[in-house]
């Protein structure tokens, strides 16, 4: 590919895209909603491979076993896709990402690759046990989202790789999900803390499976696995939020920043995780 600054390619096929990425010196680019804000008053130093026109990469597909959210699928695409109730949490997150302007351009894959601690897509996809598919000329690898993001704005994405799809295995039909975001204003807000939950009840009404994840309260969104175990068997008359204690959030390591103190984030995490669980455990609502 062409060398030097301001090099830009907009491949039409995955093969071309992977070829363009092969040198490992380019940034894969699509919605621009993270890249441009990071370059106010300065130009991009690295070559850009704009994958927005790559055929077959946009949209949500279901093959009977797995939902495949293509690498250029926008938040608005997810909102418009017919998906089962287990995806309500992801859809609720989609509605809370920035503004409609952002949702129309920003992609789920980009949100994951940017790996902000406050990425709204991470907690819902963690609770869905999502995998990510990474492709390069060297091959394709699939790994759990939890293994993909390794730290503050850090992922295992290799310089020549593209996040080509987010994969979610079919969910139990009774699984219900939710997402709760806490911010200092109504729209266009970076989360102080947010949580997503997926809850499934058995025929007896007791919780048979629970997944809950909290974002913006540690370098990477975290599942609360002890809490998930403690919720198993909870009867319908008990609110999941009632059993949460501070020991359930021991894995969280929040920081002080312009949005809130760490002490507050820990307290709020309990409240927000509880609210998300109660929502998912209650009557499901189609949004």
């Amino acid at each position: 590919m062409r060398k030097g600054p301001n090099v830009y390619l907009r491949p039409r096929s995955m093969e071309e895209a992977l070829d363009a990425m092969a040198n490992g010196d380019a940034t894969a680019f699509c919605g621009g909603t993270d890249v441009f804000p990071a370059h106010v008053g300065r130009s991009l130093a690295r070559p850009v491979v704009d994958i927005s026109a790559v055929a077959g990469l946009r949209g949500v597909e279901f093959d009977g076993a797995t939902y495949r959210i293509g690498g250029t699928t926008t938040w608005s695409d997810v909102l418009a896709a017919p998906l089962p109730l287990a995806f309500d949490g992801l859809k609720a997150a989609a509605r809370e990402v920035g503004s409609i302007q952002i949702q129309n351009r920003g992609t789920i894959a980009g949100n994951l690759c940017n790996a902000s601690p406050a990425a709204d897509g991470v907690p819902p996809l963690l609770t869905l046990d999502a995998d990510v598919e990474l492709r390069s000329l060297r091959g394709t690898r699939v790994m759990p989202l939890a293994a993909f993001i390794t730290g503050y704005r850090k992922t295992v994405l290799a310089p020549d790789e593209i996040l080509s799809a987010v994969l979610v295995r079919v969910q139990p039909p009774r699984a219900r999900s939710s997402f709760v975001k806490l911010g200092a204003r109504r729209y266009l807000v970076i989360s102080i803390v947010m949580a997503a939950a997926v809850v499934e009840r058995g025929h007896d009404g007791r919780i048979s499976k629970a997944a809950v994840a909290v974002g913006a309260a540690s370098a990477v969104g975290q599942r609360l696995s002890q809490l998930e175990r403690d919720l198993i068997g909870l009867t319908p008359d008990a609110a999941p939020s009632s059993i949460i204690t501070s020991r359930h959030i021991e894995a969280l390591t929040p920081i002080d920043d312009v949005r809130a103190t760490a002490v507050y984030r820990l307290e709020a995490a309990i409240a927000v995780a509880g609210a998300a669980l109660d929502l998912a455990a209650g009557e499901p609502s189609r949004g």
């Binding site: 301001n6 830009y8 907009r10 680019f29 919605g31 621009g32 909603t33 441009f36 804000p37 106010v40 008053g41 300065r42 130009s43 991009l44 850009v48 704009d50 927005s52 608005s76 920035g98 503004s99 409609i100 302007q101 952002i102 129309n104 351009r105 806490l182 200092a184 204003r185 109504r186 729209y187 266009l188 807000v189 970076i190 102080i192 312009v258 949005r259 809130a260 103190t261 002490v263 507050y264 307290e267 709020a268 409240a271 927000v272």
Partner: protein, 914 residues
């Protein structure tokens, strides 16, 4: 890449060249001439650049132009033709007053058009969801929501032109509104010549630093298209400016040491594309970071370094007002309370960053710039260039929001010096980070107060001390320090009073003027202290205020007796019904045991219109043209607040002719006399009074021309002045009359300077000729677990003397309340952090509750038609009303603003621990 990118723009196939990664917003504005699309942040945070791409709304600043290939793009310029509801939306926005400054209006209209294309009858929530991505800093969003609903339902009000003598009091649409809704309004960055050179400043990365500028040869060799580097050595006149001439202390380019993060030391000048893409990290400067003073406490410490040689102890200025014997009164009082309160830096966050350009015309310079104060700009820039003031012409562009910060020089010195030394047009547009870093803020305040009352509920004494962090340079710090002690009592009679203020220099960005000049900070202390007193006495908080409210005959803390027009009592009484209703609602709601608690709070305020004990005249020229139309030289810059409309309404009724006859002449310093700055809530009052005088004088001149008596009726028709007395009609054919040197048949020029008196050593005197009064009631809901606060409703009562244009006043109230909500709940700037609009949060359309305005009219004998200012008054009581409501709901007293969720929760947690 040379390949042209092709797309359909407003129905026409368009090709453009250049970088494929160029932001679509930049290509639209700079290459395709579509400057109706505004840019406010380049980060998707403000939504001003919203356009439709294949029918979907998008921020054009986040779209590389290459992704527009093959799409249909619609901008504001094509909205009427290429959307189903665009034209209707534009009419509805105009009719409702949904555009104030107008900078967000194109983005709002595009987002609304996207909504109405898919939703014929949207609910309020749907409108809010659709417009949630576009920030507005002026309107408080209420009229925007109403306008979208009007457009959807097709119920758009049509105003009739008010007839002669009926302009004052008419809720007409703003006279300058059409360009704001059709995208043709030219703001500071919108009419820059294509051949202009662009300027970029090299700014200090540290709060305080020594620096050495290196040899620029290598830098210029590697950037051969740079035309010029500017440093302090290039300043033709004095390298010094300041909003208040006697305090001028700020260099255009620092020498020796920088005093705040973001201070300029040099600038590069060259073609736009080169300057915008320039990697300034290669600029030859070496920095030596020095230990900064960031707080007033640090700055007044004995061993603190001195920021300016002539400011011992880093004290810029002290203010003091004292009356009675405050210590004795406090010592003997039955009921006393004390408190400490802190506020943070607040950013103006207008959606239009500072922008302008200059060109040299012989030995003169012309500067087109977004400003609130053309004559101050002129004089200060002239000194920098070493020119006479008359050699500088300031042409105010449309101003996309000011709120005080555009009273100071920003781009003006840079464009002026660059154009002067290069001889070419030179432009500068601040990026959002640059705007936040380098322009003024609201002063952080650290306040201590004691107040006392009798058991019967009469205020006896108040002792107030406030330190204000004024940053590195003087700006309007002296004004804040002087206003504070005059206003720290609030609109109440306090017989024993002492208020002392200090503006303290630090290594922070300068704090200057921001809607209320320090008063919004003092009321956060004083109005909460009133509630503390009332509670301790066992008095109803509203009735306590009513009992102690100033009257026409009671002296203020400066000893001034107004004589008429003191409407604070009426404002408070106007809230009584809602107060009782809301208190009851909250009590009932709180009978439940949930974690949500409701509360109600109230706060009052007064605010002196115009400069504090200083002259601030306005001069209006009003001419009769040979074609029978009138020229109003309206030098009060309309920054969205509506002076173009209000001043014209006053002038029309004063001259006694229809408003429709008036043509506005802009605040261009070559065309219109000085109407002072658009600040201090002075334009309706001071310039309005000058307009009233000019109108009356023009009427007298017309009567003289027709040789008629003072009671004759005047009309202008078919180029003739018709003057009717009971027995006779005289007609004057205007185009046969001799013209004066302005080209007018008749011309009057009238000046008004409000009558004030100097303050003595104890701050006693009459600092303002007129005060505005008001009171707000806030209903809130506090989440006791999360500390989040939702404002449910605001009721705002304001004594405006006479409502010249009730619709515009309502718009001011709604916008002021929105800024007050921001100040109360979310806005704080920490120097060096969050220099963008996603870390610095201002309210979105979803954060503003219903706002009900109550206009009280207690006329002032001094103001035009009895009118008073309202621009700042409307923001002042909101924050303390909300804070009092938070206390009422939760029992937690918030002494540090903003009341962010973590601070509210911490206060509640502290209560739970006791």
């Amino acid at each position: 890449m040379a390949d042209a990118i092709s797309f359909t723009l407003n129905g026409a196939v368009t090709a453009c060249t250049g970088s494929p990664m160029a932001r679509l917003s930049d290509v639209l504005r700079h290459q395709l001439g579509k400057t109706g699309t505004k840019t406010g942040c380049d980060a998707g945070d403000c939504g001003a650049c919203s356009v439709l791409i294949d029918g979907d709304i998008a921020c054009a600043c986040l779209v590389p132009v290459a992704q527009a290939e093959g799409t249909h793009v619609v901008t504001i310029e094509g909205l009427p033709q290429h959307s189903t509801m665009g034209e209707r939306l534009q009419r509805a926005f105009l009719a409702r007053g949904a555009a104030q400054c107008g900078i967000c209006t194109p983005g709002m209209l595009m987002a609304a058009a996207a909504l109405l294309a898919r939703e014929k009858a949207p609910t309020r929530d749907m409108i809010a969801d659709a417009l949630g991505g576009v920030l507005c800093r002026c309107t408080g969003y209420a009229k925007i929501i109403a306008a979208v609903a009007d457009a959807a339902s097709g119920t758009i009000a049509a105003f009739e032109e008010p007839g002669a003598g009926h302009a004052v009091g008419a809720a007409i649409a703003r006279l300058d509104g059409q360009p704001k809704v059709d995208g043709t309004e030219a703001f500071g960055a919108d009419a820059i010549p294509r051949d202009a050179l662009w300027i970029r400043a090299i700014r200090s990365p540290f709060h305080r630093a020594g620096f050495v500028l290196g040899n620029s040869t290598a830098f210029l060799a590697s950037n051969p298209q740079i035309v010029r580097i500017l440093t302090a050595a290039d300043i033709p006149g004095r390298n010094l400016f300041g909003a208040i001439p006697a305090f001028a202390d700020q260099p255009v380019f620092a020498t020796g040491e920088t005093r705040f993060k973001g201070e300029a030391v040099a600038a590069v000048v060259g073609p736009r594309a080169i300057i915008e893409a320039l990697d300034i990290s290669g600029f030859p400067v070496t920095w030596q970071e020095l230990p900064p003073l960031l707080t007033p406490q640090q700055a007044v410490a004995a061993d603190a370094h001195q920021l300016h040689a002539n400011r011992p102890g880093n004290i810029l200025v002290r203010g003091r007002v004292a009356r009675g014997d405050v210590e004795a009164a406090l010592a003997s009082a039955a009921i006393t309370v004390e408190g400490q309160f802190e506020t943070g830096f607040v950013e103006h966050a207008y959606i239009e960053p500072e922008a302008g350009w200059a060109r040299r015309v012989g030995e003169r310079i012309e500067i087109t710039v977004s400003t609130q104060s053309p004559y101050l700009d002129r004089d200060d820039t002239a000194a920098i260039l070493g020119l006479a003031p008359e050699a500088v012409r300031i042409i105010p562009s449309a101003c996309g929001g000011g709120f005080g910060s555009k009273l100071d020089l920003s781009v003006q010195p840079f464009v002026a010096v660059a154009a002067w030394v290069t001889g070419r047009p030179c432009a500068m547009v601040f990026s959002r980070p640059e705007s936040i870093q380098s322009t003024t803020k609201r002063h952080p305040a650290s306040m201590r107060s004691r107040m006392a009352a009798t058991r019967e509920g009469d205020l006896v004494a108040m002792d107030f001390e406030g330190d204000f962090n004024t940053g590195a340079y003087s700006s309007w710090g002296p004004t804040v320090a002087n206003r504070v002690p005059v206003h720290a009592s609030g609109p109440y009679a306090v017989p024993h009073y002492r208020a002392q203020s200090r503006a303290i220099l630090t290594n922070c960005v300068s704090a200057g003027a921001f809607r209320g000049f320090g008063v919004p900070q003092t009321v956060i202390a004083q109005e909460q202290m009133l509630d503390m007193l009332a509670e301790k006495i066992g008095f109803d908080a509203l009735e306590f205020r009513i009992r102690n409210a100033l009257t026409d005959d009671t002296p203020t803390v400066t000893g001034q007796v107004m004589g008429d027009g003191v409407g604070i009592r009426e404002c408070l009484v106007a809230l009584r019904f809602d107060w009782l209703r809301a208190r009851k609602d909250a009590r009932n709601f709180n009978l439940g045991s949930g974690r949500l608690r409701r509360g109600v709070g109230v706060a009052g305020m007064f605010y002196g219109c115009g400069n504090t004990s200083l002259p601030n005249p306005s001069t209006i020229r009003f001419g009769l043209k040979p074609d029978g139309r009138l020229s109003l030289h309206q030098g009060a810059v309309d920054i969205g607040q509506g002076s173009n409309t209000v001043i014209a309404q006053i002038a029309a009724d004063a001259v006694g002719l229809p408003l429709a006859l008036i043509d506005l002449v802009s605040a261009d310093t070559d065309l219109s006399p000085d109407c002072g700055k658009s600040s201090a809530s002075r334009q309706t009052f001071v310039t309005g009074k000058a307009a009233e005088r000019a109108g009356l004088a023009l009427r007298r001149a017309m009567l003289r021309l027709a040789n008629a008596g003072p009671d004759a009726a005047i009309e202008i028709a078919h180029g003739r002045l018709l003057v009717q007395e009971p027995a006779i009609i005289r007609a004057v054919q205007l185009d046969r009359q001799p013209l004066d040197h302005h080209g007018y048949v008749l011309c009057t020029e009238e000046t008004f300077d409000p009558p004030t008196s100097p303050l003595d050593a104890n701050g006693q005197g009459s600092p303002y000729a007129v005060y505005g009064f008001g009171a707000h009631l806030a209903e809130v809901e506090v989440d006791m677990t999360l500390g989040t606060v939702k404002v449910l409703q605001i009721v705002a009562a304001h004594d405006v003397g006479r409502a010249i244009n009730p619709n515009l006043i309502e718009g001011q109230i709604e916008g002021g309340v929105a800024q007050g909500i921001g100040m109360a709940l979310m806005e704080e700037f920490t120097p060096g952090r969050g220099e963008n609009l996603h870390d610095y949060l201002i309210p979105t359309i979803g954060d503003i509750p219903p706002i009900r305005s109550i206009l009280v009219e207690r006329p002032s004998s001094v103001g035009p038609f009895g009118a008073k200012g309202v621009g700042e008054q409307v923001l002042i009581p909101t924050a303390p009303a909300i804070l009092n409501a938070i206390y009422n709901a939760s029992g937690a007293r918030i002494t540090r603003t903003p009341a962010t969720p973590d601070r509210v929760r911490a206060a509640i947690r502290a209560l739970e621990a006791t």
